[in-house]
């Protein structure tokens, strides 16, 4: 975009949001080239609208000028979802962070997109309710971003991911119109389920300006167990055994030997250093039941090869057990200056062979790979450790990532369980979808975005990328483990 065009655009946008909230200064817009993925690209202009009506007007101005628009919430995307690869305007929701309504009678809350996930549950707690999807990044990520990626979390195993908890949306469409789809009521029989279709569309269908979510009564108690296994294979088989036992745990998380070492070095959570793998399991419900389920689960764990099962006796012990898991991501800094996180999914029963294959890739390439993941739903997060300052390592790690996703796909799984396709995996999507599959999805995108302006360059493979290429600036090292987010709160 040339300087004159940019100035004209900026003037029009400022007329809508005010001078303070639209800017194009090269220094100021630099912050908006990043998210939590390694990719970067500079936007031309950044806008921070204060209301849904302003969002719609901003979109209209951009559409008229044929300028690409990228929605950006907390930018914790691990897939480059918010990186404006075709430049243009970045819209961010820092000012649209109000909880508009807590409607306990109808089991709903109505929020603006910039509301931080955790702060919604905190606001609901005094009413006896919570919002279920709890991405590990919930202290930073927003409901708008969660709608963008259809985010999951440890406790979505039992209760479902974002789309299962969103009943309505107000959308700013590419045409500049503001429409409400779905709403407060439960079911919908009023045409196509645009709410469900939109969730997880990563900003390519429009912008959510208001969100109706389900809220749920808090479980009376939770019980957490740690089960220690000799190796990941035995632990993976245990996951299937637990699932088949008829117990429905609220969360099943796994950490492998390397992760345990990193965690122990960082936070001394008390995981046995000689363990090959650790499972963290949680059940919730009424006290009498949780007691019984805890015992049953411990029994299944022992029968499936656990050398030790430790049950948290009280809330303090429970928190202690989770502390190691929550600190796992940042703990990687103890092992390596950089890491690359993947998000593959395999059917639960394919966990053992998939983990063995990942191990083989590690042995062959010489790169260490940690596994800390949502085992209950087969959602792997292999973390490939490397040093970005060593020439060729970053590129090698990307190739390893491709290989891991390919083997997840070949095992009947998916190339992303919760982080989204974004920029990062747009070629990998071909591992699971044919040209015909993608062609139908593309037709649908065109309905919402006929001129290709909504977060262009994302989700779909083979897009021609104009403007700045999605590559790292030469002077920029990929994110360091320690500075992705704040210490102990990190929980992938």
């Amino acid at each position: 975009m040339d300087a004159a065009t940019r100035e004209r655009l900026l003037g029009r946008l400022r007329a809508v949001v005010g001078d303070r909230y639209a800017f194009a200064d090269p220094y100021e817009v630099r912050l908006y080239q990043y998210d939590a993925s390694p990719e970067t690209a500079l936007p031309d202009v950044v806008v921070i609208p204060g209301t849904a009506a302003e969002v719609a007007q901003v979109v209209k101005i951009c559409a008229d000028a044929e300028v690409p628009i990228t929605a950006r919430s907390a930018a914790s995307s691990l897939a480059g979802g918010t990186v404006p690869v075709q430049r243009g305007v970045v819209i961010t929701f820092a000012r649209m962070d109000r909880i508009l309504e807590i409607d306990a009678d109808n089991l709903r809350a109505v929020v603006e997109p910039g509301v931080v996930n955790l702060s919604l549950s905190q606001a609901l707690r005094p009413h006896g309710y919570y919002y279920v999807p709890d991405p590990s990044s919930q202290g930073a990520c927003t409901i708008g971003g969660n709608v963008g990626t259809n985010a999951g979390g440890p406790h979505t195993l039992l209760y479902g991911v974002t789309v299962n908890h969103v009943t309505g949306l107000e959308l700013a469409l590419a045409s500049g119109e503001l429409v409400q789809v779905g709403g407060r009521k439960a079911g919908s029989a009023s045409g196509y389920d645009l709410t469900g279709l939109f969730v997880g569309s990563e900003g390519t269908m429009g912008i959510a300006t208001k969100i109706w979510v389900k809220i749920q009564p808090l479980p009376p108690v939770q019980k957490t167990l740690m089960a220690v296994y000799p190796d990941v294979e035995t632990a993976s088989n245990a996951v299937s055994a637990i699932v088949r036992s008829g117990i429905l745990p609220a969360a099943i998380e796994m950490m492998d030997k390397l992760s345990i070492q990193a965690i122990e070095a960082a936070s001394h959570a008390g995981y046995p250093l000689d363990a090959g793998a650790v499972l963290l399991l949680e059940v919730d419900g009424i006290p009498e039941l949780v007691e019984e389920l805890g015992e049953r689960m411990a029994k299944v764990c022992r029968e499936s090869g656990a050398s030790e099962v430790r049950v948290a006796k009280d809330e303090a012990e429970r928190q202690a057990l989770w502390k190691g898991r929550k600190g796992a991501f940042s703990a990687m800094g103890r092992l390596s200056p950089d890491f690359y996180v993947m998000d593959g999914v395999v059917p639960r029963t394919k966990l053992p062979e998939t983990l063995a294959k990942i191990d083989a890739i590690s042995a062959r390439t010489g790169y260490k790979i940690c596994n800390v993941f949502h085992a209950g739903d087969g959602n792997l997060h292999p973390l490939v450790l490397f040093d970005a300052f060593k020439p060729g390592q970053y590129e090698a790690v990307l190739r390893i990532g491709d290989e891991i996703l390919k083997l997840c796909a070949d095992a009947g799984g998916s190339v992303t369980g919760e982080h989204g396709i974004g920029l990062e995996k747009r070629e990998n999507i071909r591992y699971i979808f044919s040209d015909d599959d993608l062609e139908v999805m593309d037709r649908i995108r065109h309905v919402f975005d006929p001129h290709g302006l909504m977060n262009p360059g994302k989700v779909f493979p083979g897009e021609v990328v104009e403007g700045s290429a999605p590559s790292r600036a030469p002077d920029h090292a990929p994110r360091r483990a320690a500075n992705v987010a704040g210490g102990d709160e990190i929980w992938v």
């Binding site: 990626t149 009521k185 919908s188 645009l194 969730v199």
Partner: protein, 420 residues
């Protein structure tokens, strides 16, 4: 191309008058029927229909064919009856893949053999197919607790008029790759493509089941108890408010007017606690627990009540929980009602002569956050009714989606919202 040549190119075969009857939709009869062998075959058949172009009505088990407006045109009946296989089932993964023509009951039996189930119970599972359940978004009485069809479908293969078979989602329980086209096709009443295969996640069957029948003096008290239960931990698996006649339809007679029937499912301890809690809430609302014994067909009859065979008119209101009172407030005295308070859903069987006026009243009472549709009605009555109500705000997008996937408008033309 002349008319004869066009007809010759259509899939399936011409049918006799007797063969036509089972494929009647409202007042219309098809001239041909096609029964694809599998998903690819369905796509090929659709392609031929599209080339003609000729109007296709998709048939599963036929249990929801009274839903929707009368088709504008109807020449070919596409029946999924030969597509009835269980393609994959891995109990340890709690997932399966089935062809769309599989009957719900057959699927549930296969799952039951492994101690599992799909917690969706649309009416008439002995006839309803998986594809029909998706297309009509047909749900049962457990929707408030277990969610609806959209919460259990993890993948889909759809045949389009272009002749292509395209998939979305996959076989794993957690997956955000690509657009969620499952949501698009669920409830689309077959207007965007022929659902050919469906992947589900399933669950372990609950340990125990229990029922509680309570009688309350007013519908308001019954509804309030039902919604209060939904707002607390240990919500029942089903909560249904029935009037005297609906209760009778379910095989029970009573000398009281309003019944709250509760079904509990889960671990034994949980069910026990839930029942105690429900009992105290019922008493607090001035109600009386009448027992925990129901005729064996009770829950099945309750499930099927909203999709009756024959010429009954059923009107359905879907509203926020707090708006249920307003719906009850405008119902005529002696209405035949079955409501699911925890889901904000009220089904009413209405006499044909009053259907239009009741529909109008309910729409006003439901307000702009609610929706009232005709869930079933004979053709003659439907002609006088606005089956879906006014098109929703996102309607231009919906029409454009239809245009993008079915440009010649061959699929179920006219049956859906806003004349889609």
């Amino acid at each position: 191309m002349g008319l004869n040549a066009r007809v010759a190119a259509l899939p399936g075969h011409e049918i006799t008058v007797e063969e036509q009857q089972p494929f009647r939709v409202d007042d219309l009869l098809p001239s041909r029927v096609v029964r694809p062998a599998d998903a690819q075959d369905a796509a090929r058949g659709l392609r031929l229909c599209d080339l003609a172009p000729t109007a296709v009505v998709i048939w599963g088990g036929g249990t929801q064919m009274r839903l929707g407006a009368a088709p504008r045109r109807y020449e070919v009946a596409l029946s999924t009856e030969r597509m009835s296989r269980l393609l994959e089932y891995e109990p340890a993964d709690l997932t399966c893949r089935v062809e769309a023509g599989m009957r719900l009951r057959d699927l549930q039996e296969a799952l039951l053999a492994q101690g599992q189930r799909l917690p969706l119970e649309p009416p008439h599972p002995d006839r309803a197919t998986v594809g029909g359940m998706l297309a009509a978004n047909a749900n049962g009485l457990g929707r408030a607790r277990y969610g609806t069809v959209r919460d259990w479908v993890i993948g889909i293969a759809v045949a389009y008029p272009s002749g292509k078979l395209a998939r979305a989602g996959g076989k794993v329980v957690k997956n955000v790759a690509g657009y969620d086209l499952m949501k698009l096709h669920i409830g689309a009443l077959g207007t965007l493509g022929v659902i050919a295969e469906v992947n589900f996640k399933v669950q372990t069957r609950p340990q125990v089941e229990a029922t509680l029948i309570a009688h309350l003096d007013t519908p308001a008290a019954a509804v309030d108890t039902g919604t209060a239960l939904a707002r607390q931990y240990l919500a029942p698996a089903a909560a249904v408010v029935l009037d005297q006649s609906a209760l009778k339809d379910c095989g029970m007679t009573a000398d009281w007017r309003w019944t709250l029937a509760l079904k509990f499912e889960g671990y034994a301890r949980e069910v026990e606690a839930a029942r105690d809690k429900a009992t105290s809430l019922i008493r607090a609302a001035g109600g009386r627990v009448e027992g925990d014994d129901v005729p064996s067909r009770f829950w099945h009859a309750a499930r099927d009540w909203s999709a009756p065979d024959g010429d009954l008119v059923v009107v359905r209101a879907i509203v926020p929980l707090t708006a249920i009172h307003a719906i009850f407030g405008v119902l005529p005295e002696d209405s035949q009602v079955m409501a699911q308070p925890a889901a904000g859903l009220v089904d009413v069987r209405v006499p044909a002569a009053f259907a239009a006026s009741i529909l109008r009243r309910l729409r006003t009472a439901g307000g702009d956050q609610g929706q009232v549709i005709v869930a079933a009605a004979p053709a003659a009555v439907k002609k006088e009714l606005d089956v879906w109500g006014p098109p929703p705000p996102g309607f231009p997008i919906m029409r454009a989606l239809k245009q993008a996937l079915d440009p010649n408008g061959i699929l179920n033309p006219g049956r859906f919202v806003g004349g889609i």
